[in-house]
């Protein structure tokens, strides 16, 4: 285990500490160790770009995680009905997750672009008043982002929850059948609590994906229209590589890390206590 520990401490924790140290300086293009402590964090909190991107992320995150969990659960239940061609469906549902968003995001962008995508095509068929321009509407573009992210992420949730469903004891089903309980009741009141740790795992994975959301935004909307789909990760990348603002970018990165910790820690403990309860 020693090499593993060296990697964990040296690479992961070391990089984290370094990021934090740099966020305490006024480094611009290259690291310069002149400390001004929490100045960058104060600047970050007063930066409209950052505040807008955090607000966007909250909307995106809540919708994305909720829809993914519901949709993934429904798909998993569907797959659990011993349907024909299950492995084919599984592959199809999981396929988006295996694809890079840089590639598919670009295709999505073209499909949704009103001047040559769906809108233009349908209008070409003679429906002149057809409008589907969410991607260029500042008040709707965030939903396009959710749509594309759900398309990618729900397959993963399905796979995780399906594994959970397969672990449910067959006898349970027989017992509920004898008692004459409706199937949907069994799923919501009996099965769901049993696979709750699985759902918690899926939620953590989705939350991390939300905080990290970058490639999707860059490929799909470029943060636009205006700043309607700007996200913290993009803010960090921009300040790191384009605006020569390394310290501010690292302060943003630390804030993102804090967000992940705040979201993941309660889920982690809830999961552990659930596991203990199940075991005891």
């Amino acid at each position: 285990m020693l090499p593993a520990w060296i990697i964990v401490i040296g690479v992961f924790i070391g990089a984290m500490i370094w990021t934090f140290v740099i966020s305490m300086t006024n480094s611009r293009l290259i690291p310069i160790y002149k400390f001004n402590f929490f100045d960058q964090y104060v600047r970050l909190m007063g930066n409209d770009g950052w505040l807008v991107s955090v607000g966007n992320l909250v909307v995106f995150g809540v919708l994305f995680i909720a829809i993914c969990l519901v949709l993934g659960f429904l798909m998993a239940i569907m797959m659990d009905q011993k349907i024909r061609g299950e492995s084919l469906f599984r592959t199809i549902f999981l396929y988006p997750y295996a694809m890079s968003f840089v590639v598919t995001g670009l295709v999505w962008q073209w499909v949704l672009n009103p001047t040559f995508g769906i809108q233009a095509t349908v209008r070409g068929w003679g429906f002149d008043t057809f409008v589907f321009d969410w991607i260029v509407r500042p008040d709707r573009a965030i939903f396009v982002l959710v749509l594309a992210a759900v398309w990618q992420g729900s397959g993963l949730v399905m796979a995780i929850l399906l594994a959970g469903l397969r672990g449910v004891d067959e006898d349970l089903w027989k017992a509920t059948k004898v008692d004459g309980i409706a199937k949907w009741r069994v799923y919501t009141s009996i099965v769901l609590p049993i696979i709750a740790p699985m759902a918690a795992t899926a939620t953590v994975l989705l939350s991390v994906a939300v905080v990290k959301a970058y490639d999707l935004v860059v490929a799909l909307t470029g943060g636009g229209p205006g700043n309607a789909t700007e996200v913290p990760a993009k803010f960090v990348m921009e300040n790191l590589f384009e605006r020569q603002n390394v310290a501010l970018a690292n302060a943003g990165a630390i804030m993102m890390l804090a967000a992940v910790v705040i979201v993941a820690t309660p889920i982690y403990y809830a999961r552990r206590s659930m596991a203990q309860k199940a075991a005891g």
């Binding site: 290259i30 470029g222 943060g223």
Partner: protein, 411 residues
């Protein structure tokens, strides 16, 4: 930190020397740059060939994408394993490297090559810090070309506009004919900044530009002189189509090539794309610098030469001399479709659009693009504000004034 870094790089240098002893003379010259497209590779090959013919050994380290290439170069410079030459954008890009004493002083090469006479003054100031030269100018680009589709203009019986009023009048006709009057690229903030620069240069002229970039920029933005600029900025989005957001510049350029759109504001790099599509600049695609022969808004690229043991190495000196020579500049800029950084370059090989840019610079009718006097942070903030206002359907001229004055005061 500096001392630690020097100590570290010293150790690294000793280690490398120890490893290389015996073959010390055969060290290749590493050049990091981001010129990877077809025309660009042809351009960089001109310099590489000239260097190799002079007995050097050019080691090409192309990294796709400017920010990735800059990051690669910075990481290696800071890490003590600096390349011999690295490409950067002209202007504030190199400030931090110069301040930290990481770049070699090029005063001797500049004096020997008589740069102060042959290189435009604005370029000289962009590569100098405190009176010392720290970068080799490689090429210039005019960023404010107004391109127009000849086919689209013919359809409505219009010619290239000479004023913004004519521009908008032609725009109305184009729209009536079912053509998008104005195409705007929208995937990056910088395209909105670029369009803003074009409008400012054409309305405010060199004088307005000087005031905007000067210490009293915010005052100028709030003055009456700036009003027409803000009015055009507020009017322009209404002449564009709805597909701007997220659209790459080359896709937008296609709209002009296909005659789907009338006008397009973009830098000289679009000319290469026009030629590559088999269209002729100046005939199929018309071009002018702003609608009213505005000053060319010029940016460019430079070689930064990381300091190696205090002095400029022979190889670095050689590349600096070659890059700024008439011969290499002529061949290089013709291949790249860009503009030379010095006088005396034969422009006969240039296409009509590039020639227009070259003559504007030659006549002194040019200003330095915003990324030269402004920090990347400030330029980025301007682009972000312009992008937000573009997407706001009811944005008024006053909103532009407020946003721009805000950025100038804050950064």
């Amino acid at each position: 930190m500096n001392r630690i870094q020097r100590a570290l790089s010293g150790v690294a240098a000793v280690a490398i020397c120890a490893a290389m002893s015996g073959t010390a003379n055969a060290q290749p010259t590493e050049v990091i740059h981001w010129w990877t497209s077809k025309a660009e590779s042809a351009g960089i090959k001109v310099i590489a060939d000239a260097f190799n013919q002079g007995g050097g050994e050019w080691k090409d380290e192309a990294v796709a994408g400017s920010s990735a290439a800059k990051t690669a170069a910075i990481n290696r410079i800071v890490g003590g394993n600096a390349p011999d030459v690295a490409q950067f954008s002209m202007g504030a890009d190199i400030n931090n490297l110069v301040e930290s004493g990481l770049l070699a002083n090029l005063d001797a090469v500049a004096a020997a090559g008589n740069w102060s006479k042959i290189v435009p003054a604005s370029v000289m100031s962009a590569i100098s810090r405190d009176g010392h030269v720290y970068a080799v100018p490689v090429q210039l680009q005019a960023t404010n070309f107004l391109f127009a589709s000849k086919a689209a203009l013919d359809k409505v019986g219009a010619t290239m506009p000479k004023t913004w009023d004519e521009f908008f009048a032609t725009g109305d006709k184009l729209r009536a004919a079912g053509i998008v009057p104005y195409a705007q690229a929208g995937d990056r903030d910088v395209w909105f900044m670029n369009t803003f620069g074009a409008v400012l240069a054409s309305v405010g002229g060199a004088e307005g530009w000087k005031q905007f970039t000067g210490p009293k920029g915010a005052e100028y933005v709030r003055s009456d002189a700036f009003k027409p600029v803000a009015e055009i900025l507020a009017k322009l989005p209404k002449y564009a189509d709805s597909g701007v957001s997220g659209r790459q510049w080359n896709v937008t350029n296609q709209m002009i090539l296909k005659g789907e759109a009338g006008f397009f504001i973009m830098g000289g790099w679009a000319i290469g794309e026009i030629v590559a599509s088999g269209k002729k600049p100046g005939e199929d695609v018309l071009c002018s610098i702003g609608p009213n022969n505005a000053p060319a808004v010029v940016n460019g690229d430079v070689w930064a030469m990381p300091a190696k043991g205090g002095n400029l190495t022979e190889a670095q000196k050689k590349i600096a001399e070659l890059t700024t020579s008439v011969e290499v500049q002529t061949k290089f800029t013709t291949a790249m479709g860009s503009l030379p950084i010095r006088s005396g370059v034969d422009a006969s090989g240039y296409n009509a659009c590039a020639a227009a840019g070259a003559s504007a610079i030659e006549k002194g009718n040019s200003v330095s693009a915003l990324m030269i006097p402004f920090s990347p942070e400030k330029v980025g903030a301007i682009g972000a504000e312009m992008k937000v206002l573009w997407a706001k359907a009811d944005a008024k001229p006053e909103d532009y004034v407020k946003a721009l004055a805000g950025v100038l005061e804050k950064y």
